[in-house]
Each structure stands twice: as C-alpha cells, then as structure tokens.
C-alpha cells in the first residue's frame, strides 16, 4: 500500500476546517492498535491477575480498545498467552496461533509464558517463543496489572513502528510527571536567582 501517500479527510460541510493528512499504513496501524481483539489463552496462576486486570479498578483492556474477548481465533488478532504452557498444551497453542488471521500479535503474560519460569523440568515449555513467534514479553510471577498495561502500550508502539518499516524495539514514552516538572522549575528559578 506504499503508493498512496496522503489521505485527506474532509470534515464539515464548508470544507474549510478539520483536515487531517496521514499515510494509509499509519492510519491502518492507528486503527489496529486501538481495536485489538484479544484471545485470552488462560491456563494458570496469571489468570487471576488477568481477571484483576479486566476488573473495574485497573480497567486494563477497555482503556486501550482491547476489551472485547473473542473466543474464536479466527476473529481475534491479539493472543494473550496467560500462564504456563506444558508440553501437552503446546500443540493446542500452536494450532490456535495458526488459525488466527494476519495481522496477529502475541503477548506473553508472565514469566512462565516468557521463558518457563522456575519450572525448568520435563513437562514445561521453556517459553512460548520456542513454538510460536512472540511480540511482547511481560515479566512477573504473576505480573502486576501495571506491568501488563506497560506491555500493552509497548505493543501499540510496536504496531505503529512496524507500519512505517521501523524495526527498532518499541518504547513506552515517559509521561508528564508534574512533580518532576515542579522540581526542575524550582531548580531553574533558584539558578536564575543565584545569577
């Protein structure tokens, strides 16, 4: 879709206000990152934190447009692997991943899904990336909901970047911190006072 460079959106009847120009890929990425349809592949302990994440206090997925769970892999584009994957479970996970439509992303929720955790034994898969590609790893056993939100924002950043061909790892931009700004302001004013 690289040929079509600019899209103009016409807003208002007069046509004098409300223009936005963007690349089509960027527009698609923007739309995708705010409407992730998740497939929760919940197996273990992390499922408890996953429940807490969707509960009113953290409201972790609705705020990012990822609220609606789809229990059919064909309708979803973000696979949450929540919990330990045993060797017995591995073919199931693999098949579910293969059933999902492109574009698709995978989020490894917790240490067990990321690397097997402290279950270094005969029955546990040492990380889902041994079986399927994985986009974001959220560490923690189980991760706190805040950590998962961080991971979700990383994924959004990754979606934006990949649309423009940027292969660098995603980052979560530091947010405005009023306290820190206040301190810097004070420092600045005191320095000015000295001078």
């Amino acid at each position: 879709m690289g040929e079509l460079k600019h899209v103009t959106l016409e807003g208002g009847a007069s046509g004098t206000s409300g223009f936005a120009t963007t690349k089509l890929d960027a527009l698609l990425a923007w739309a995708r990152k705010w409407s992730l349809f998740k497939y929760p592949f919940v197996t273990a302990c992390c499922g408890m934190e996953f429940m807490a994440l969707t509960s009113p206090r953290f409201d972790g997925s609705a705020r990012f447009g990822a609220e609606a769970p789809r229990f059919s892999p064909r309708q979803s584009d973000l696979l949450w692997v929540v919990g330990t994957i045993s060797q017995r479970q591995a073919p199931v996970l693999r098949r579910i991943y293969e059933q999902m439509m492109e574009p698709k992303w995978v989020l490894a929720f917790g240490t067990c899904a990321s690397c097997g955790g402290f279950y270094d034994n005969y029955t546990t898969v040492p990380g889902i990336d041994k079986i399927i590609p994985c986009d974001v790893y959220v560490p923690g056993c189980p991760p706190r909901p805040e950590a998962v939100l961080d991971g979700l924002m990383l994924l959004q950043d990754k979606i934006t970047k990949n649309a423009t061909g940027d292969r660098r790892p995603g980052i979560v931009k530091p947010r405005e911190d009023p306290v820190r700004d206040l301190i810097q302001l004070r420092k600045k004013s005191s320095r000015e006072g000295e001078a």
Binding site: T43, A52, S55, F71, G83, R88, F118, Y119, Y122
Partner: protein, 404 residues
C-alpha cells in the same frame, strides 16, 4: 397432493441417530484452559464423557525434590493460586509436625487471619467466575472488587498481591504490620456488603436459579466414596470440615459454623461458598480481637529459623548458622508424615518423606480438586450439554492444584 413419505415406514422417517462426538476444551472459555472433555452426545444429552486433565502439569513434586525444605514454599503457592496463603500454612504445618515445633500463639492467630482472607478470595473468585460463565457479568465485577480489597490487605502484609511465599518453617517471613487489625476491621463490613449485593443480583434471577437448581446432584455417600471434601462435600449435607473435626492452629477457640447444603446440587455448592465467606469473616474478626500486638512470631529454634540479621553481621556463630541453613537447608528428622488442613476446596494434605537431610525425599500433595474433578464425569452424564458450564464452575477446579 399426496404426502411424499407415503411409502416410507416409521423407522425411515427418523434421522439416523448416531451419537455425536464433541471435544470441549482445553481452550474453552468455561474450561479454565486446562481441562478437556470428550463428549458423546445424543442430541443435546450427554451419553458418555471422558474428562482429561493434565494440561497444567508442571512437575511440582519433582521440583520439590531438588531444593531445600524452605524452597518448596514458592512452588506450594502456585498450586492453588486462588488461595496461596492456605497452601503456605498447610505446608508449614506439615514440616513443623515432623520437626515437633509449635509456633508461638501470635503466629497461630496471624496464620489464621491470612488463611481466612485467602479463603474469602478463593470463594469470591469461584462464585464470581461461575456467575460470569452463566452470563452474569456484573456480579463478577462486584466480587472481583471485593477480592481486590482482600488482596490489598494481603499485599500490605506480605508484599505480593497473589503469590506471597510468606510462610516459613517455624513462623512467618515477617511479623504482622501494625495496621493489620484496623485494615481487617474496615474491609470486612465492606466485603460483606458487596457479597450481599452480588447475592441479591443473582438469587432473585430466574435464569440463574434455573440453571443451578437440581443440576449436578450428588448424594452424601456417593461424594464420600469419591473422596470429595470441602465445600463440595458439605453441600451434600455431610458436615466434615477439618477445622472442626481435627482442629489445628486456634480453630478450636473461635466460634464459627459449618454451612451445609441439603441435596448437593450446584445451587447448594454456590450457597455453601457464600456461607463460608461470612464464617471466615467472623473468624477473622475474632482472631483480630485475640491476637496480641506484641510478642514473638517465629519460634525460637535455631534448627529452622534464621538468626537475626544484626547477629549474622556481628557474630561468627550466627554467620555459620545462617550459612548452613541457607546452603544445606534445615535438617528435618527422618521419617514420613501426613498433615492435613482445610484448603479452599477441601482437605489439603501433604505427605512428606524425609531422609534426614536438608532436601525432601518426596513431597506429595493431596490436591482436593483432583478427586472432585474425577466426579465431574458422573455429574454430567445424562445431563444436557449446557449443564456442563454451571456444574464445572461450581466444582471450582483449579488447574495448578489438580494437575500438580
């Protein structure tokens, strides 16, 4: 116009009634991701079912044979991950039984408070998830809100929201915080209020009641023969609760009732769990009144308890003791023990075999869900397909515990 089936006899009119095979799970929203049920259906009625577990087998028992006795605690946490504190306490009691240690009184009350908080969290999750699977999303959000209150207390005490690893052989990792009692006294009325609101939403709902009442029935003797314990057994009217029948910690000194059901259907299991939340609240309030504000939490026994940090840095004896306890582990006397407590789902037993060294020879957990899940097949045979969801939800099968 003549009917087209004029020259057909009765049998040919029927569609061929071959049984249909259906595979439910392991990745099914109501199967908690860890159970697969292979069903043979005649229409919508279940003729035969085969419950297959093991999708969350993580080798708990093998892993425990590698570290010290204390290093078992994190693994124990992740067995029943809805009430980790009860598992911690159960395992600590089992090892203490072998070492012949009794923890100080303050610690016993402390363990009771934390354990009962975990039980509340367990039952709230079970009932909430069960309601959610039947389509009632609001009570689920209500119960999770109440669970967050419980977790706030546990986080303040232990530092972790879910997997605390807080128990130690001969005590706890840290003494109670000064705010514990006031936090409990504030949170419990709020939790009870939420429980009542959730109950009000569900128990007046015709759809919810119809899907629960007289579904998944089991009689008391059947449940005993299947080795059921805990809320599922009590829902059949058998009042067997380890806390009453064989009191441990200080359960013989507090006043609480054992809620029992009458006919052992899904509704009874739901109501027994709600009743137990209220009883747990009573226990916590009494324990808060009885627990001393000052006093030792850990037992004064150098075999198992680490010396104070101050001494480790200043005296050679304490340094050596610390080193030996960490590197070799606490030496547990040779022998075998079976210790049992009331977990979230029933009798949580630990069968430990020690060869006298710092590493367990065998750690065997008796998971209460395991026999309960075994009975699922009997409950759903002959029922309708849609009855699986409430029946399975009310059994509260926890994957980590059931599959070890």
């Amino acid at each position: 116009m003549e009917p087209i089936d004029l020259d057909l006899d009765e049998n040919e009119l029927e569609l061929p009634s071959e049984p249909m095979h259906l595979n439910m799970g392991p990745s099914h929203p109501a199967m908690h991701g860890t159970v697969r049920i292979v069903l043979e259906l005649s229409g919508e009625t279940i003729v035969k079912s085969d419950v297959q577990i093991g999708y969350l087998h993580r080798g708990f028992e093998k892993m425990c044979e590698r570290g010290t006795w204390t290093q078992v605690f994190p693994y124990v946490d992740r067995l029943n991950y809805v009430s980790p504190m009860l598992n911690n306490v159960g395992y600590a009691l089992a090892v203490e039984k072998m070492c012949d240690i009794e923890v100080p009184e303050r610690c016993q009350w402390y363990r009771m408070i934390l354990g009962e908080l975990a039980r509340i969290s367990d039952h709230l999750t079970c009932n909430g998830a069960m309601a959610m699977e039947l389509g009632a999303f609001t009570p689920f959000l209500w119960y999770i809100k109440a669970r967050e209150m419980v977790w706030d207390i546990l986080e303040e005490e232990t530092g972790a929201r879910l997997t605390h690893s807080f128990g130690r052989i001969g005590g706890m990792a840290n003494p109670p915080t000064p705010a514990l009692k006031s936090m409990c006294r504030e949170a419990i009325p709020a939790i009870l209020k939420i429980v009542e609101e959730g109950e009000g939403m569900l128990l007046k709902n015709r759809i919810f009641i119809d899907r629960l009442e007289n579904i998944g029935k089991i009689s008391g003797p059947d449940a005993i023969a299947l080795s059921w314990t805990g809320p599922c057994l009590r829902s059949t009217g058998v009042a067997y609760d380890v806390r009453k029948a064989h009191p441990y910690l200080k359960y013989d000194e507090v006043d609480f009732d054992v809620p029992v059901g009458t006919c052992g259907d899904n509704m009874d299991r739901f109501l027994v769990r709600l009743g137990e939340i209220r009883q747990s609240c009573r226990i916590i309030l009494q324990a808060c009144d009885r627990m001393a504000d000052e006093g030792p939490v850990n037992v004064d026994d150098p075999r198992v308890i680490l010396p104070p940090k101050q001494d480790v840095y200043t005296t050679i004896e304490a340094t050596i003791q610390h080193f030996k306890l960490v590197m070799e582990g606490a030496k547990v006397p040779k022998g075998e023990v079976y210790s049992y407590t009331e977990g979230g789902n029933g009798e949580l037993g630990y069968y430990l075999v020690s060869d006298g060294s710092g590493t367990p020879h065998r750690v065997r957990i008796r998971p209460p869900c395991f026999p309960i899940t075994q009975g699922l097949s009997d409950l759903i045979n002959g029922a309708m397909l849609s009855d699986i969801v409430p029946t399975f939800g009310s059994l509260n099968m926890i994957g980590g515990e059931c599959d070890h």
